[in-house]
């Protein structure tokens, strides 16, 4: 019974969260959001709506001004091992090989070399970079670099993946392939994912739940459950009538906030 309540409880709870940057720029106002365990939640909104700010507060990389973020019921006071971050600009160490980059989180935790390389190799394989483990980031394309970033986040075995516009810096075809691969990967790796994007199609395609943010100051306008079955063949989702309708619905809501 006890275990059941924990399982049903949202893994991340954002409560009355506000963030004002120095210089009185109000980035977030009174944000409330529950993120269910094992699902992918997207923070969707136009640029300047504070979605990255919200993600970085959840990550513990930014301080909040008011309110609280709870992870498994515990308030967030900084980064923690149950959360792993995937960066928009990949944030790879340019002087390290793919293998060492993927193992970097484990290296920081003091996992012995042999063991962390074994773990890293497993995830390099999972993201489809087998054979590139000795390559350096400058030798890889944008899409491949982000696969390294994803493998690094998976390697530390966190419950929660925080992804900040992970596919924004890669080209359209690579992005689509990456989105499909991500969904397939999440079938194996049971993770809770918080995903920031400004692309409506991307949000609907990858999400179980979409949180719409309005701009200046950022607040949650609406939370929508996509009810798309991601366990189905990922290539069929884009033809699903429900997917197409949702994309259109979200656009109708978001267009009000644009000038």
């Amino acid at each position: 019974m006890q275990a059941n309540t924990i399982q049903n409880r949202p893994i991340i709870e954002v409560k009355e969260l506000s963030k004002t940057y120095p210089g009185r720029v109000e980035a977030l106002r009174n944000v409330n959001l529950s993120i269910p365990r094992g699902q992918l939640t997207t923070l969707l909104g136009p640029s300047g709506c504070g979605k990255t700010t919200l993600l970085k507060i959840i990550a513990g990389l930014l301080n909040k001004t008011e309110g609280n973020v709870f992870i498994n019921g515990q308030p967030v006071n900084g980064p923690g091992p149950e959360r792993a971050f995937v960066f928009q600009d990949f944030a790879l160490l340019p002087w390290c090989t793919v293998l060492r980059n993927v193992a970097f989180g484990l290296e920081l935790r003091g996992v012995p070399g042999k063991q962390r390389n074994e773990i890293a190799m497993k995830y390099i394989d999972e993201v489809g970079l087998t054979g590139f483990e000795k390559a350096y980031p400058y030798e890889l394309s944008g899409g491949m670099r982000q696969r390294v970033g994803l493998a690094r986040a998976l390697a530390v075995d966190a419950e929660i993946l925080l992804m900040d516009e992970p596919f924004a810096s890669v080209d359209e075809q690579t992005r689509r392939k990456f989105q499909e691969d991500l969904l397939n990967l999440l079938k194996i790796e049971k993770k809770t994912v918080v995903f920031v994007t400004h692309s409506i199609e991307e949000a609907v395609y990858v999400s179980d739940q979409v949180a719409l943010l309005g701009p200046r100051p950022g607040r949650i306008m609406r939370v929508i459950n996509t009810r798309l079955d991601h366990a189905e063949n990922v290539e069929d989702i884009r033809r699903d009538q429900r997917y197409l309708n949702l994309v259109e619905d979200l656009w109708q809501i978001l267009r009000q906030y644009l000038i």
Binding site: K56, A59, G60, L61, G78, P79, G80, P81, R83, A84, F85, F87, Q88, D89, A91, L93, P94, W95, F104, G105, E107, L108, R109, Y136, P137, Y138, R152, V156
Partner: protein, 250 residues
């Protein structure tokens, strides 16, 4: 170099200038410039004297001691200035003044503090080299992509790990550039220190040769010091080349 449509190795430019030197020397146009062949002969003669090695070792000890202190102050100070705003604002002005100040003018004033001996030379080396190392290190730390720092923190790096595994490495290209410039300035510092105050080491030889118009030995010494500075610079350059593959694509 291309002459009459043919590629000619750069070393020929050097050869041409050496020939010009030789010609001026032979023509006895200037007593300051003896024939180059005489300079080479003087160089071999110098290399055979014990006095030369004594001078070199005195100078080298001053140089290496000064540089070690310079590096172990300059790099941490630069990193601190790059990271801590307060320290940067407090010291930034002075570092910028000293990096471009005519330090030679200050050196005689050091006598009052440190006397006439080796200490003054070491202090001169530090005074000449530490500022550029500090400034370049600071620039390197300032240049670090902020998301690398966020990455380190989010994957659980403690302060020490953040500095050793992320910040120092990411600033390494600029640190090495500063080191190369600092070492060259340090060579200048030894000679200036030994010439102006403590008349010891190579400075003493310089003083002796120029006062007694032994111009062939004088130039032999100049060339050897130049070669030494060039070799140090190339050594650091070699290190820089080893990290160039990623430094140029940051």
């Amino acid at each position: 170099m291309i002459i009459f449509g043919r590629r000619i190795p750069m070393i020929f430019a050097l050869l041409i200038w050496l020939l010009v030197w030789e010609a001026i020397g032979r023509a006895e146009l200037l007593f300051l410039i003896p024939p180059f062949a005489d300079v080479v002969r003087a160089m071999f003669k110098l290399l055979a004297t014990g006095k030369f090695y004594q001078a070199v070792s005195v100078s080298f000890i001053a140089f290496s001691t000064g540089m070690m202190i310079s590096i172990s102050i300059g790099i941490p100070l630069g990193i601190l200035m790059g990271r801590v705003r307060f320290i940067d604002e407090l010291l930034g002005m002075w570092v910028n003044v000293f990096v471009s100040a005519p330090l030679t003018a200050i050196v005689p004033a050091l006598m009052v503090l440190t006397g006439f001996g080796q200490t003054t030379v070491i202090v001169t080396v530090i005074l000449f080299s530490v500022w550029i190392i500090t400034l370049d290190t600071r620039a390197g730390v300032r240049n670090i992509n902020p998301s690398l720092l966020e990455m380190g923190r989010s994957f659980g790096a403690n302060k020490l790990q953040l500095y050793t595994k992320v910040i120092f490495k990411a600033a390494l290209p600029e640190i090495l550039a500063g080191l190369r410039l600092g070492l060259i300035r340090g060579v200048r510092g030894v000679i200036v220190g030994q010439l102006l105050i403590a008349i010891i080491g190579l400075g003493e030889l310089f003083e002796l040769y120029s006062r007694s118009f032994l111009m062939d030995r004088f130039w032999a010494l100049v060339i050897m010091i130049f070669l030494f500075a060039y070799m140090i610079s190339e050594a650091v350059n070699h290190l820089e080349k080893r990290i160039e593959f990623w430094a140029s694509t940051r």
